[in-house]
C-alpha cells in the first residue's frame, strides 16, 4: 500500500518534471519565433502608421491611418481620398495576385494528381523518373526564371521556334513583354515549377492507401473513376488540404518569379512586388509597410476561412 503511494508520488513529480522540461525545450523556439514572426510583423505594422522614410528609419512620426486612407477637404469644398485603399495600382496588384494564385494552385493540384496517378502505377525506371520530376522544384527560382526567360525570348527562344513549327502561332511573340501574354507566361512557369512538388505530395498520399481496398473495389466491379472519387480522393484529402494551404500561401506572396520574368509589367505585378517597390525602390517606405500589413491581413483572413470552411486540422489529430 505504502509502496504504490510512493510510486504515484514519483510519477507525479516525473510528470511535473516533464512539464517543466517541455517548457524549457520550447523556450529557444519561442524566442526564435518571436524574432522571425512577431518582431518584424509588429515593426512593419508600426511603420505603416508613421511617415518613416528609408533614409530616416528611426525618425518617423505617427500619422494614424493616413497611409491607408486619408480624406482631404480642399478649399473649394471638394473631398479627395488618398492612401492605399483607394490606390488603383494596389487593387490591380490584389486582383493579379488572386488571379495568379487561384489559377496556378488549381492547375498545380489537378495536374499534380494526374501525374501522381501515373507515377503510382508500376513501370520501368521509377526512381529515375521521380528524380527527374523533382528537379524543377529543387532549382532556385532565380535560375529557373532566367532559364525560362531565355526559352521564351522572342528572337532566340526555343518555345517560339517549336510553337511556330507546330502551327500554334503564326509569328514569333514576346511572351513576357506583351501585356496580354505576360500572365500566361508567369502561370506556365509556376505550374512547371510547382506541379512536380504537388505530384510528389499526392504520390506519397496515394502510396499510403492500402492496396487491398483497390482489390476489393475491383472484385465488386466498381468503375475506376468512381473508385478514385469515392475512395482515393477522400483518403488523401487531409494531405492534399495541408499541401494546398502551404502552396496557396506561397502563391499569394509570389515575388521572385515575377520580379525576374516580367519586371515592371503592370499585367503581372502582385501584392509582394508592389509593396517591395514602395518599400525599397520608391521612396514610400511607410506606404509600402501599409501594403505589407494589408497583405498580411488578407492572408490571415484567407487562412482562417480555409481552415474553418475546409475543417482542416493542422495538428493532424483527426487522421488518427
Amino acid at each position: 500500500m505504502a509502496n504504490t503511494g510512493l510510486i504515484r508520488e514519483n510519477q507525479l513529480s516525473l510528470h511535473q518534471q516533464r512539464q517543466r522540461a517541455a517548457f524549457w525545450f520550447l523556450a529557444p523556439m519561442l524566442v526564435a519565433l518571436f524574432c522571425v514572426a512577431a518582431w518584424p510583423l509588429l515593426r512593419t505594422v508600426w511603420f505603416s502608421f508613421t511617415d518613416t522614410s528609408l533614409n530616416d528609419l528611426y525618425g518617423g512620426k505617427w500619422i494614424g491611418f493616413d497611409n491607408y486612407l486619408r480624406v482631404q477637404t480642399l478649399s473649394n469644398g471638394a473631398v479627395r481620398y488618398k492612401g492605399t485603399l483607394v490606390d488603383p495600382n494596389w487593387w490591380n496588384a490584389v486582383w493579379n495576385t488572386v488571379r495568379f494564385s487561384v489559377v496556378s494552385v488549381l492547375f498545380e493540384t489537378i495536374l499534380g494528381l494526374i501525374v501522381a496517378l501515373v507515377l503510382n502505377a508500376e513501370f520501368k525506371g521509377r526512381g529515375l523518373v521521380r528524380a527527374a520530376i523533382l528537379i524543377p522544384w529543387a532549382i532556385p527560382t532565380i535560375v529557373s526564371a532566367k532559364m525560362w526567360a531565355w526559352m521564351l525570348n522572342d528572337q532566340y527562344g526555343i518555345i517560339n521556334d517549336m510553337a511556330l513549327r507546330l502551327g500554334l502561332i503564326t509569328e514569333k511573340m514576346a511572351w513576357t513583354a506583351n501585356t496580354d501574354t505576360a500572365m500566361y507566361a508567369v502561370l506556365m512557369v509556376d505550374v512547371w515549377k510547382t506541379t512536380p512538388f504537388m505530384a510528389l505530395l499526392c504520390l506519397a498520399g496515394l502510396q499510403m492507401v492500402p492496396r487491398d481496398i483497390y482489390e476489393a473495389a475491383k472484385i465488386d466491379g466498381i468503375h475506376p473513376v468512381k473508385v478514385f472519387f469515392k475512395i482515393t480522393l477522400p483518403l488523401i484529402r487531409p494531405a492534399l488540404m495541408v499541401a494546398v494551404i502551404f502552396r496557396m500561401l506561397d502563391a499569394l506572396r509570389v515575388f521572385d518569379l515575377i520580379y525576374v520574368l516580367t519586371p515592371n509589367s503592370a499585367a503581372t505585378k502582385t501584392m509582394s512586388v508592389i509593396s517591395r517597390e514602395n518599400l525599397i525602390d520608391f521612396d514610400k517606405f511607410a506606404y509600402g509597410s501599409a501594403q505589407s500589413t494589408l497583405l498580411f491581413v488578407i492572408l490571415a483572413v484567407f487562412v482562417g476561412l480555409y481552415i474553418w470552411l475546409g475543417k482542416v486540422d493542422l495538428s493532424g489529430e483527426s487522421g488518427k
Binding site: 514572426a37 531565355w150 528572337q155 497583405l295 495538428s315
Partner: protein, 276 residues
C-alpha cells in the same frame, strides 16, 4: 492472356511516365545543352541541336572570371550550418509538442504558419536594422542565423508530424526502466526518428541552398553564396546566354547531385509527414 494485358498496361504507363518526365525535365536539359555551345551557336536561329558547335569555353570563362569555390563554400556552410542549428532547437521543441501536448499546440502551429503570411520585403527592413546594429551583415554567422530563423517553422512542423507517429508507449517504457529525460530524447527518440530527421535535414538544406532574397540582400561579397553568384550574371542581357547557362548549371549541379542520391528520403520528407 491476363499476363499479356498486364505487360501491355505496364508499357503504356512506362511511356506515359517517361513522356511526362521528359517534358518536365526539358528546360533543365536545354540549359545544360546551351552551356556547352558557343555563344553564336546558342543564339542560332532556328535553335541548333546536333549541328551546334560544342565547347567547354563557357565553363572555363565563368570559372576564371569569378571565385566559384568561395561562393560554393559559403553555400555549403550556410545551408548545412543553418539546418544543423535549426535541428538543435527544433528537436526538443518538437518533442515537447508531440509528447507533452497542451491546448497551446494548435496556436503554436498557427503562429508558425503566420511566418508565411508576411511578404519577405516587409520582414527585410526590421531584420536589416538588427543585422546592421549587431555587425552580422555580410557574415556567414549572420546568414546561418537568418536562414535558420526563416526555416525553423518548417523544420519544427515536419519533425512534429514525424514524432507524432512514434508511439509514446515506447518512450514511457524507457522511462519506467529509469531512463532520464536526456536519455529518452537522445538515445530512444532520436535514433527512432532518424529517417524523419534525415528527410527534414535534406529538405532544409535544399531550401537554404536555393534561398535568394535573403542571401542577396544580407550579403555583399564576403559571405555571398551561389544564389548571389547567379544573380551577378543577370546584367548582360545580350549575347551571353551560353555563359549564363554555364553559370546556372554550376550553381544547380551540387543540389542536383545531392537530390539524385537522396530522392527517396526527399519524397518522404516532402510529405511533411502529413500523410500517414
Amino acid at each position: 492472356m491476363a499476363r499479356a494485358v498486364t505487360t501491355q498496361r505496364k508499357l503504356v504507363y512506362t511511356i506515359a511516365a517517361w513522356s511526362v518526365a521528359l517534358l518536365i525535365f526539358f528546360p533543365v536539359l536545354w540549359t545544360i545543352l546551351t552551356s556547352f555551345k558557343t555563344e553564336t551557336s546558342a543564339v542560332a536561329n532556328p535553335p541548333e541541336l546536333l549541328s551546334a558547335d560544342w565547347t567547354l569555353e563557357n565553363y572555363a570563362e565563368v570559372w576564371g572570371r569569378t571565385d566559384y569555390p568561395r561562393f560554393f563554400l559559403n553555400s555549403v556552410i550556410i545551408s548545412v550550418g543553418s539546418t544543423l542549428l535549426g535541428l538543435l532547437i527544433a528537436i526538443p521543441a518538437a518533442w515537447s509538442m508531440a509528447f507533452v501536448p497542451s491546448n497551446k499546440t494548435k496556436d503554436l502551429l498557427m503562429w508558425m504558419l503566420s511566418t508565411k503570411m508576411m511578404p519577405a520585403a516587409a520582414v527585410l527592413i526590421p531584420m536589416y536594422l538588427i543585422f546592421q546594429r549587431t555587425g552580422l551583415f555580410d557574415t556567414r554567422t549572420g546568414l546561418v542565423l537568418a536562414l535558420m530563423l526563416m526555416n525553423l517553422p518548417v523544420i519544427i512542423w515536419m519533425l512534429y508530424t514525424y514524432f507524432k507517429e512514434i508511439p509514446g508507449e515506447i518512450l514511457e517504457a524507457a522511462r519506467m526502466d529509469g531512463a532520464s529525460l536526456r536519455d529518452e530524447v537522445l538515445y530512444i527518440l532520436t535514433p527512432m526518428a532518424i529517417p524523419g530527421i534525415a528527410s527534414t535535414m535534406l529538405l532544409n538544406i535544399i531550401l537554404a541552398w536555393n534561398e535568394a532574397f535573403w542571401t542577396i540582400t544580407l550579403t555583399t561579397t564576403k559571405a555571398a553564396p551561389l544564389s548571389a553568384f547567379i544573380a551577378s550574371f543577370s546584367a548582360p542581357q545580350g549575347l551571353f546566354y551560353a555563359k549564363l547557362s554555364a553559370a546556372s548549371t554550376m550553381a544547380i549541379a551540387p543540389i542536383l547531385i545531392l537530390g539524385w542520391f537522396s530522392q527517396k528520403q526527399l519524397v518522404r520528407g516532402l510529405t511533411f509527414g502529413a500523410v500517414k
